[in-house]
């Protein structure tokens, strides 16, 4: 036996641990990277690929590679795509603006301790815990033009029945109202957390200098709250952009008979599940994805720029 000479040859186990030591930053990150690869990168890449083909009918059927043809037809589609993009923007901006203002007002009211504070907080949070589909169906019943509670209530005070969800003009504002009803509490929650973490001194200093309530809010509290406000805007705008449940539960396929609440999300869903046009649907989703990524990029840059 002549093997026992020094230096001893490394065993397989040792060489693996050496290798692992040398590559540990990759090794520890590997599970997360595999996860991201399978669940995010692969689907996105596959969707990009699909968007370059004329896949329809079945994703298993033969499809031809058609380059950017889908993008061209989607971007020149003034019947469905651009109106849907417009509605998405309208829905997001309006809902977000109202929710921010309303959320800030409620958060300021709840900021200072008062009797029954806990109950009020619970009541305000209730809409947040309901499933959006259930919320949509509930409001659909309330807003029913013939048997709905909303019109009955209007009747008690002598106002004629309104079309709410069934009107071509009023459907989108009504769904925005539902969104506001459901999601303002989340804004309240975030802003309230921000308010309670503010230090009292600047506010007191301003008070001593003779600033009134509005001035103290506008020149002291709001600037200090800016980072929190931007977080709230960021979270809510992502959510509002991709709203699907409320719209589908209240107006169904295609966002109603005149596509009155058809946003990009509803449009892409219809293309894929109703029309079975997988290529076109992927194109819409990729474009939608790019729009969202660029908005988020702008918003986060703005946030970094904030002192």
């Amino acid at each position: 036996m002549s093997v026992a000479t020094a230096p001893a040859r490394k065993t397989a186990g040792q060489s693996f641990s050496d290798w692992a030591n040398a590559h540990r930053k990759w090794l520890f990150a590997a599970p997360a990277m595999i996860f991201v690869g399978i669940l995010i990168i692969f689907p996105v890449a596959w969707t990009v690929y699909l968007s370059l083909t004329d896949a329809s009918g079945s994703v298993r059927a033969d499809s031809d590679f058609i380059g950017l043809e889908n993008y061209l037809s989607v971007l020149t589609d003034t019947d469905r795509f651009w109106p849907a993009a417009g509605r998405t923007a309208y829905f997001t901006v309006t809902a977000l603006a109202v929710e921010m203002v309303l959320g800030m007002c409620i958060a300021l009211l709840l900021w200072r301790p008062f009797r029954g504070e806990k109950w009020v907080r619970v009541a305000i949070l209730l809409p947040l815990v309901a499933t959006p589909v259930a919320v949509g169906m509930m409001w659909r019943l309330i807003f029913d033009p013939n048997i709905g509670f909303a019109n009955q209530m209007l009747g008690w005070v002598g106002i004629p029945p309104q079309p709410w969800l069934s009107g071509v003009e009023s459907a989108l504002p009504t769904t925005i109202f539902i969104d506001i009803w459901q999601w303002t509490p989340m804004i309240v929650l975030i802003l309230l957390a921000g308010l309670t973490s503010l230090s009292e001194e600047p506010d007191e200093a301003a008070r001593i200098d003779g600033a009134n309530a509005w001035q103290r809010f506008w020149y002291v509290t709001l600037p200090l709250m800016m980072p929190t406000v931007i977080v709230a805007v960021l979270l809510r705008s992502i959510d509002a952009l991709k709203t699907f449940d409320i719209l589908y539960a209240t107006k169904g396929k295609g966002g109603g008979s005149f596509n009155e609440v058809e946003t990009l999300n509803i449009y892409a869903y219809g293309l894929s599940f109703d029309y079975n046009k997988y290529g076109l649907s992927s194109t819409v989703l990729i474009l939608f994805f790019l729009i969202i990524v660029s908005i988020m990029f702008l918003l986060t840059r703005r946030r970094k720029g904030t002192p």
């Binding site: 692969f42 689907p43 009918g57 079945s58 994703v59 033009p145 952009l241 991709k242 295609g254 892409a268």
Partner: protein, 428 residues
């Protein structure tokens, strides 16, 4: 971000590409000749009856039935995802031959049943009505067994007609006149109600279209802007616009329209006969005592309602359990079961059951008569017979909602014609 949506679509594709499609076969359910038959069905009166009878089947055969019950739209979405991914998680599927039949058959999702239907002489395939059989046959292969048939009939309120001293309308003109008279005499009650959703209304509008002498497609070309079609659009939409419920929504499917009728909100209602129980069941309908049925009033081309198989059973081509799946279908569509289900209020596809007095004994007399008349005059489709039915319905349905809202339906029909021509070219 949009990622969620992307992954929604891509989930199907991921499963596909990674070859995970067989992951359902780990349990006993997917194995060859498994004792568990997985059946996916829609919410329907048919389903309610079959559900009660399933224990008998399980006892007879020793098989176990796993039932998944979904709403129509959810069912479609499930099929789109699962069948697209080649999943074997569904053995027996309840599907709509006129809505998805072509697409599914063309994609190879439906197993060829030709040999199976011929094999059992007692079960008797030749007993099934011709129209429904045609609708479930694709390129000379049988791919489905019809279970529910439908014709459009007129639902009406006897009390309102009596009060106005009117006869049951036999023509479209009489229907319009009666709707006018009754709605004027009874403020708050509509003269006429029907589906109003762009896509949902297409099937019920089709009978009006046929009765006015039109069709969606003639000789492979769009016919939605023909003189007859324009008249039909204007008539159907006009009835609802002029004599329909106040604040009528343009999203109504059968459930909303039926609710208005059964709550006493309308004098006339045209709908599928297979839904009649909703109107005659006192638990669901305030007008159960006074509801009457009549054949669809005649238009310029006569009374031509659709007469179609609305639902059928098929076997998923990817299923590993096709023999047992067929046992289930054979049982669920047997003469006895069909009789039992038909007596429970669901019009079936078997000629022998209709010929038997027992088959119509539980039906209101006027409804049974209306059904038999409609079965004779009926047209075998109620929507454009194309592959992408969903898209086609939205195109040909646009003039209906235009007419309902009082807009220019002729102009909308011309627009729809152009879009439909383009669509049909794309289908080739």
């Amino acid at each position: 971000m949009g990622r969620k949506e992307l992954s929604r679509t891509a989930a199907v594709l991921t499963a596909l590409a990674l070859g995970l499609t067989a992951c359902g076969s780990g349990d006993d359910g997917g194995a060859e000749g498994s004792d568990t038959v997985r059946v996916t069905v829609a919410n329907h009166v048919w389903t309610d009856t079959i559900k009660e009878a399933i224990p008998e089947f399980e006892e007879e055969t020793g098989l176990k039935v796993e039932l998944t019950q979904l709403g129509e739209d959810q069912l479609s979405d499930q099929y789109n995802v699962k069948l697209n991914a080649g999943s074997d998680e569904i053995d027996v599927m309840m599907y709509r031959p006129l809505q998805e039949g072509r697409l599914f058959a063309d994609n190879g999702y439906l197993a060829d049943l030709t040999d199976r239907v011929e094999a059992n002489a007692d079960w008797e395939w030749s007993d099934f009505q011709e129209g429904p059989v045609t609708a479930t046959t694709f390129e000379d292969k049988v791919v489905g067994v019809p279970i529910i048939t439908e014709r459009e009939v007129l639902y009406y309120r006897k009390d309102l007609l009596d009060a106005a001293g009117l006869e049951v309308p036999a023509t479209m003109e009489e229907l319009e006149a009666a709707a006018k008279t009754i709605s004027e005499a009874n403020p708050g009650t509509a003269g006429f109600v029907a589906r109003t959703g762009k896509s949902a209304a297409v099937t019920q509008f089709s009978s009006f279209l046929f009765s006015f002498g039109g069709d969606f497609i003639e000789d492979g070309e769009s016919a939605v802007s023909s003189k007859e079609a324009k008249e039909a659009y204007a008539f159907y939409g006009g009835l609802i616009n002029n004599y329909g419920p106040e604040n009528v929504s343009t999203d109504m499917s059968w459930s909303e329209a039926m609710a208005i009728f059964t709550q006493g909100g309308a004098a006339f209602y045209t709908e599928a006969d297979s839904l009649y129980k909703n109107a005659t069941d006192p638990a669901k309908s305030k007008v159960a005592d006074t509801v009457g049925f009549a054949p669809l009033p005649a238009g310029p081309a006569g009374s031509k309602p659709y007469n179609i198989p609305s639902w059928s059973l098929a076997i998923n081509e990817a299923s590993q359990n096709q023999d047992n799946a067929w046992k289930f279908i054979e049982w669920a569509t047997s003469k006895d079961m069909t009789m039992q289900i038909q007596q429970g209020g669901v019009p079936g596809p078997r000629a022998s059951v209709w010929a038997d007095a027992g088959g119509t004994s539980t039906y209101p007399e006027d409804l049974a008569e209306a059904i038999s008349i409609s079965a004779e005059n009926g047209v075998g489709h109620d929507r454009p017979l194309v592959k992408s039915v969903g898209e086609a319905r939205e195109i040909v349905g646009a003039p209906i909602v235009a007419a309902i809202t009082g807009a220019d339906s002729d102009a909308e029909a011309d627009t729809a014609h152009e879009a439909f021509e383009k669509f049909l070219e794309g289908e080739q």
